[in-house]
Structure formats: structure tokens, C-alpha cells
């Protein structure tokens, strides 16, 4: 076979598989968003909404990756116990903040824009969110692990993980892993 043709065929194949995985990631995100909206509709109050959203977000988001990256290289000095604890606390913090943003009965309008794949196994889905009269640009970063999972949410250019990275860094410099876990549990308590 003509080597040039072979190359072309390979290119088409590669392209095909890339867009297939992008479509998979988009589908996963849409499922997650639909589940969240359905839960927001079904929940009679904010307290209940939190209970509804918890399993949904745990299923679709990778809190392991998010916590690890928000901590950065200092993660290597965390004991297994500290890793587990901080991941749990961080997930709680994020899920609570997220649920508090919903007013039961008010629906955001979400428009999905064309997704891109910045690297193999990674997909970014830009969306426009219209809520209570304002427009926000929200980009979801997804990665393939056991299926596609959300690993970051970027609102108006502000990455959730990067924002915590700045804060965890300061705590880690002050008192290592213990300080990070301490500050996290303090924030979670404060939120109640």
C-alpha cells in the first residue's frame, strides 16, 4: 500500500477515535448535568438537595484528582490517612458550596458549546450558563479514568482547583499536611 495513503488512513482513524471519546465525555457531562437538574427539581428544600446531590457528584467528579492537584507536590508528604481525610473534607466543601448555589425551583439554562481534546484522555467542554438574568461562561474539564469524570470547573476563567491550590499552598507552608487538613475541617465546620 502507498505509504502516504497508509498515513492518511491512520490519521483518519486517529481523528475518528479522538472525536468518539470527545462525544463520550460530552455525553457523560450532559448526563451529570441532567441528573443534577432533576435532583434540584425533586428536592423540597436545600437541606434535602444536599443529600440528593452528594451521590450524583461523587459519581461524576473525581475528587481524588482534584484534591491531589489542589495540594500540589506537598501531597507526597501526606500520610495515607491524611490523604483520605483531606479528600473527604474537600469533597464535602465543594458539594456543599455547589448545592448552596441552587434556589429550588429556579432553573439555569445551559448551552453546551463544541468540546475540544487538549490531550489524549482529556476533554474540555465550554458551556454558557444563564441563571437569574446573568450569563456565565463555565468550562468543564473531564478526564478518562473508570469512564469520564469531571476534574475541574472553570467559571469565567477562574479554575476551582487552581483557586484552592493558592490557599492550600499557604497552609502547607505554615504547617505541612496537618495544617491543610486542619484548615479544611475548620472550613467545613464553619459552613454548617
Amino acid at each position: 500500500m502507498n505509504p502516504r495513503l497508509l498515513f492518511l488512513a491512520a490519521l483518519i482513524l486517529l481523528h475518528g477515535s479522538a472525536s468518539a471519546s470527545t462525544a463520550e465525555a460530552e455525553k457523560r457531562l450532559q448526563t451529570a448535568v441532567n441528573e443534577v437538574l432533576a435532583a434540584a427539581d425533586a428536592a423540597p428544600s436545600r437541606g434535602v438537595l444536599l443529600e440528593y446531590l452528594n451521590p450524583i457528584l461523587q459519581r461524576h467528579m473525581s475528587f481524588d484528582a482534584m484534591t491531589r492537584r489542589a495540594v500540589g507536590p506537598g501531597w507526597r508528604q501526606f500520610t495515607d490517612d491524611q490523604k483520605k481525610k483531606s479528600t473527604q473534607l474537600f469533597a464535602t466543601l465543594i458539594i456543599r458550596t455547589y448545592s448552596s448555589k441552587f434556589t429550588p425551583g429556579e432553573h439555569p439554562v445551559i448551552k453546551f458549546n463544541p468540546a475540544s481534546a487538549p490531550a489524549p484522555g482529556r476533554v474540555e467542554v465550554p458551556t454558557t450558563l444563564q441563571y437569574q438574568g446573568s450569563h456565565y461562561s463555565v468550562t468543564y474539564r473531564l478526564e478518562e479514568a473508570e469512564g469520564w469524570r469531571v476534574t475541574d470547573v472553570v467559571i469565567e476563567g477562574v479554575s476551582l482547583v487552581a483557586n484552592y491550590r493558592a490557599q492550600f499552598d499557604e497552609q502547607f507552608k505554615k504547617g505541612g499536611a496537618g495544617a491543610v487538613v486542619g484548615a479544611l475541617s475548620q472550613s467545613v465546620d464553619h459552613q454548617k
Partner: protein, 262 residues
């Protein structure tokens, strides 16, 4: 509310802009970072090879102690004065009217966007802004309505501002500054705010007809409207933070980075 700040802004504008303006650029996670991280890209649980995926977003903050103090004064001011004021604004003025007021002020702010798009050499966007201004002024009855939202090309025009123009010209943030009342900014963006102020016709009435009460009323309504919007953003950014000051600083720098890309 903005009036007493003007002299301060102008004073800041006289500070040599380019001295020590080399704030390290905030690192965004990039494709190469993902690859360099040693992650095979297949597994989110990849054994800790991705710890440098995000770098702490950094900006020079030599004034941190003063900034933190101003930050907490602002925080108190928001809680004690501005929040009740904006709640009152919300309570007294019904939502459709608030939306109308919002639209009118945004429409009038047209020169800020137009001049900066032009200074950035983005004539296409300046053209869109002009189109939007005429559509909303004429079909939207003085800008109360926003019929431009129904025209796809005009619905989502990124907004230009003076700080953004400086960023496009390659000027860095300099240092991070928390302004009294106005909140997070940087040396560059403070000068930018002064530019926006001068370009915004809402503030011209004060210069043209100085002395009348209503020339204060118009800019005040504008401030109240802006505050009402910004408090929402401020609340959600700071509520779940470990260190409010750092959370807002990081969010501000990331957001301005994004604006500069648009």
C-alpha cells in the same frame, strides 16, 4: 460613591507604571504540563504524577499587610453598609425595572468598550459594539431593552476595558492592590479603572453640570447597580474558602488573565 476615589486613582496613575511590573505569569495547566506530569492521560488515579498540574497563581503582593487590612475593612463595609443598601435597592425597585436600569447603564458605557476595542486594534469587535449600541438605543428605546441579544453576532461580544488594553499591550499587573470600596485590583488595572471612569459618559455629567444633586444621583445609582451584581460573585467566591483574601486574590488574577485573552 465613586467620586472621592477619583483623586486617589489619578494619584495612582502618576506612579511610574512599568517599574517592577514583571509579575510572574500565572501558570495555567497546559497540554504540555499534562504530558510532562508523567500521567499517561488514561488514568485520573495515575500515581501522583500530576501534582504540578496546577501552579499556585501568583502576583507580586508586597503590600500584603496593607492589602489584607483594606480587604477586611471592605468586607465589613460590604456587610454593614453595602449589603443593606443593595437589599434596599432590590426591595424598592422591582426586577424588570432593575433590568432596564442595568441595560441603560451598560448601553451608555459603550465608549469604554468601543475605545478600548479600537486601542487593541480589534476593529471588528469595535464594529459589533457600534452595531449593538445603535440596535439597543433605537430598537431598545434608549437601551432599556436589549434586542441585540436576539442577533447571534451581537449576543456575546466580549467586553473591552482599559486594563485589558494594557494587558494586550504586554503590560503586567505590577503589584496586587486592594482598593478601598472598589476591592481587588492591581497597579495596572487601577490605572485601567481610571481610564474606564473617564470614558464612561455616566461620570461626565458630574464634570459638565457640577453642583447639582442629580449629578451625584446618576453615578450613585450606577455604583449601587454594580455593587448589587458584584456582591453575588464575591459571596460565592469567598464562602467556601480557607483564606478569603487568598481566594479572592487568586480568583481576580485568574479572571483578569482570562479577560486579557478575549
Amino acid at each position: 460613591m465613586k467620586l472621592p476615589i477619583l483623586p486617589l486613582l489619578l494619584a495612582a496613575a502618576t506612579i511610574p507604571l512599568l517599574t517592577s511590573c514583571n509579575a510572574p505569569a500565572p501558570k495555567q495547566p497546559t497540554q504540555s504540563a499534562a504530558v510532562r506530569g508523567g500521567s499517561d492521560g488514561k488514568s485520573v488515579k495515575a500515581a501522583e504524577g500530576d501534582l504540578n498540574e496546577y501552579r499556585a497563581v501568583s502576583v507580586a503582593d508586597p503590600l500584603e499587610p496593607i492589602n489584607r487590612a483594606t480587604f477586611w475593612i471592605n468586607d465589613g463595609l460590604y456587610t454593614v453598609v453595602l449589603r443593606p443598601l443593595t437589599k434596599g435597592y432590590e426591595f424598592v425597585i422591582p426586577k424588570p425595572v432593575r433590568t432596564g436600569i442595568h441595560n441603560v447603564f451598560e448601553n451608555v458605557r459603550f465608549p469604554v468598550r468601543f475605545v478600548n476595542d479600537t486601542l487593541q486594534g480589534n476593529f471588528k469587535r469595535a464594529g459589533y459594539e457600534t452595531g449593538k449600541f445603535f440596535v439597543n438605543t433605537i430598537a431598545g428605546v434608549g437601551g432599556i431593552g436589549r434586542p441585540s441579544d436576539h442577533i447571534p453576532a451581537l449576543a456575546d461580544v466580549p467586553e473591552g476595558d482599559t486594563g485589558q488594553t494594557f494587558a494586550k499591550w504586554g503590560i503586567g499587573h505590577g503589584i496586587y492592590i486592594v482598593l478601598p470600596v472598589l476591592g481587588p485590583s492591581s497597579l495596572r488595572d487601577t490605572v485601567g479603572i481610571a481610564g474606564d471612569y473617564v470614558l464612561n459618559p455616566v461620570n461626565w455629567v458630574s464634570f459638565v453640570y457640577g453642583g447639582y444633586a442629580w449629578t451625584i444621583a446618576i453615578p450613585s445609582t450606577n455604583s449601587l447597580r454594580v455593587t448589587h451584581e458584584q456582591l453575588g460573585v464575591y459571596d460565592s467566591a469567598s464562602k467556601s474558602s480557607l483564606d478569603k483574601y487568598l481566594a479572592i486574590r487568586s480568583a481576580y488574577i485568574q479572571h483578569r488573565q482570562e479577560v486579557a485573552k478575549k
